[in-house]
Subunit: 387 residues, 2 copies
């Protein structure tokens, strides 16, 4: 079979990282043939550092129409993910979008419709779905081992970023450039894993955001959110780029026990009798169901970005099921949008959110922005081990 011709649009931090494993032929059946970026410096870098046979483009129309690529990885700033994906689908290309799927759900819904109409393979770079820890947690929920979920609690504050990170790119951490802060840039993986492992979305959200609390930025760098689910369960999500050292601890409490992911381990506290049943039957006053602490074996390793790209290439060439279908990108984004909206309105937000209201509130912030970044020009940072 001929190799799948892949192009990358956006050769910044993440785009360069995808380019490297592709150029090294680490994804079987695929080859990187073209890249596109508006910054000529990055195109020069691609020729020099990757391959001088790479085609380079400085505008997306030409790139999509003339480069001969069959599939594209979109790794531009967030706002462009959806419009570029829509263009690519119209050109008959398969699409892999970096996270987040977009900045507001209205935009992402249009992208999902374009994907459906095209019949092409649409993936999203939720590389954390390749992590066997979260796969196993999802398995505990889906298989019924955990029972009905009562509570979710994720403290994900280990996204520490110093001010120099924010100063490294003019688009970073602005309403106009990213459409948000930690929720849009750092947390899309966790927001996705949260709903993916539980198999349920919140039905309403009450969130509290600190905007520029720890950094000289206009968007949120600190969030605490409370959510309620349809089945009565509640949840908490705490995130920040201002805590050092941060915490990454995710707990699900359920009818048949509790699962905790922390320090790269999954511990299952398994009840031998359902709590609800014990509650009804036990007559002793004090007491609780017998509980076994289980270190759940985790097999394999996260295949990460390369794994997601490989899975997408296999889906294109062999019809393999996608681990992270692009259409699911809207879920985590909707939670993120709901958190923003709740903080902005200082009120509850029901899901599905009012997309038009969100869009207009976001535009208000973009228009009202008087934020001037003291940045030192666009720097490309090495992201190895950070995403």
């Amino acid at each position: 079979m001929a190799k799948l011709k892949i192009g990358i649009i956006g050769i910044g931090n993440m785009g360069s990282s995808h380019a490297r494993y592709l150029i090294n032929n680490e994804v079987p059946g695929a080859e990187l043939t073209a890249v596109c970026d508006t910054n000529p410096e990055r195109l020069r870098w691609a020729k020099e550092a990757l391959s001088d046979r790479l085609q380079t483009y400085d505008n997306d129309n030409e790139f999509f129409a003339s480069s001969g690529i069959e599939a594209v990885i979109i790794a531009t700033p967030h706002y462009d993910h959806s419009p570029l994906a829509i263009k690519a689908f119209k050109q008959g290309l398969h699409v892999m979008s970096e996270k987040p799927a977009g900045v507001y759900t209205k935009q992402v819904r249009e992208m999902n419709e374009a994907a459906k109409a095209s019949g092409k393979v649409f993936g999203i770079m939720y590389n954390q779905r390749t992590n066997p820890l979260y796969q196993k947690l999802r398995d505990l929920v889906q298989s019924g081992e955990l029972g009905e979920i009562k509570r979710t609690n994720w403290i994900i504050t280990n996204w520490y970023r110093p001010q120099s990170y924010y100063n490294s790119g003019g688009w970073r951490a602005t309403w106009e450039g990213e459409g948000g802060g930690v929720l849009l840039n750092q947390d899309p993986h966790q927001l996705d894993l949260w709903q993916w492992t539980c198999g349920m979305m919140p039905k309403r959200v009450r969130a509290f955001c600190g905007f520029g609390k720890y950094h000289d930025i206009e968007v949120e760098d600190d969030v605490t959110a409370y959510v309620e689910y349809e089945n009565g369960a509640t949840g908490v999500f705490v995130t920040s780029t201002g805590d050092a050292p941060g915490t990454n601890r995710y707990e699900i409490s359920a009818d048949k026990g509790k699962a905790v992911i922390e320090n790269g381990k999954l511990t299952f506290y398994r009840l031998r009798q359902s709590e609800r049943e014990f509650n009804r039957e036990y007559q002793g006053g004090f007491g609780e169901p017998e509980c076994w602490k289980i270190d759940v074996p985790i097999v394999g390793k996260a295949t990460d970005h390369k794994g997601i790209t490989t899975n997408w290439v296999n889906a294109i060439q062999n019809g393999t099921a996608l681990l992270a279908p692009g259409e699911e990108g809207i879920k985590g984004l909707e939670i993120s949008n709901a958190m923003h909206l709740s903080a902005w309105t200082d009120d509850w937000v029901d899901l599905p959110i009012n997309e038009d209201l969100y869009y207009s509130k976001l535009q208000e912030r973009i228009k009202a922005s008087t934020f001037q970044k003291k940045h030192t020009g666009n720097r490309t940072l090495n992201v190895e081990g950070t995403h």
Copy 2:
């Protein structure tokens, strides 16, 4: 020196526990000489199980006036703590109140005033303050080792109670009998330790309560609360009697690192450079301050209820400083009242709370209660290892 004559009013679960160590002469310089309870069965039990020389009383007026006691431990249902303490202070008695200090702060403020006017020694049974784990955490904050606090997060869901616990006493878990659920009965220790270890009270609270969510009761058995402090820090407190197995994990994130208490251990993640300073100075984009993980040595053991009583007796006899002054009981209660009020009004609550509003909202609930408990009479439960 003659032994301090102590009486106990309320010989239920907790009162019996205090009586046992006193009757065994485990508190130097003190002796249990009288007990009071409205339930004749409990008085018979006291004579039989403790000592037939014990004076027994079935009404508090006579008990305070004629028993010859110098000091009293109040271990009645919550509502009676404040009024009984006020009576006792007027009789010139030293007072140790079980937690909570009362049910609403209006009542407790009056008790504190009576204590002050009497000049007697007033303690509260915050036995968890004798726990060297929490003492050490407080030390890390007070000594400046942790630096300015940014975030507190306490998941204290290991208060599991089955329905039979609630059925064991008619007063349990009713607005009229306890004035609340998990916040009033199980959490007073943690609500106190939360503010005591941090050395600060929230300035506003947004809380979400499930009332009778996991049990056939009318009060809250599940709470998630978000708080904000004067210095800009935020906090989360999650508690429940419906989770099995529960979690007890308390984290403080601060400018010079992070402290975590879990599984009986205190871990201090110590930054070698203040995060705020690093944030300003570091120019590398990605990166964070050097961090040392430290297992903080914990010396000694919690002396618990007996320790608090001994400390109180020493304060009476030798002027030793109280570890848990009674006047501080209002702090945790105010947080608890604020959480209720926030849930009832579905809105923010500023501290100090509107005491009259709280009182009237509580009365509404008492009046509106149609709750009929399917209880099997008042049972005295063995509380060893549970409080």
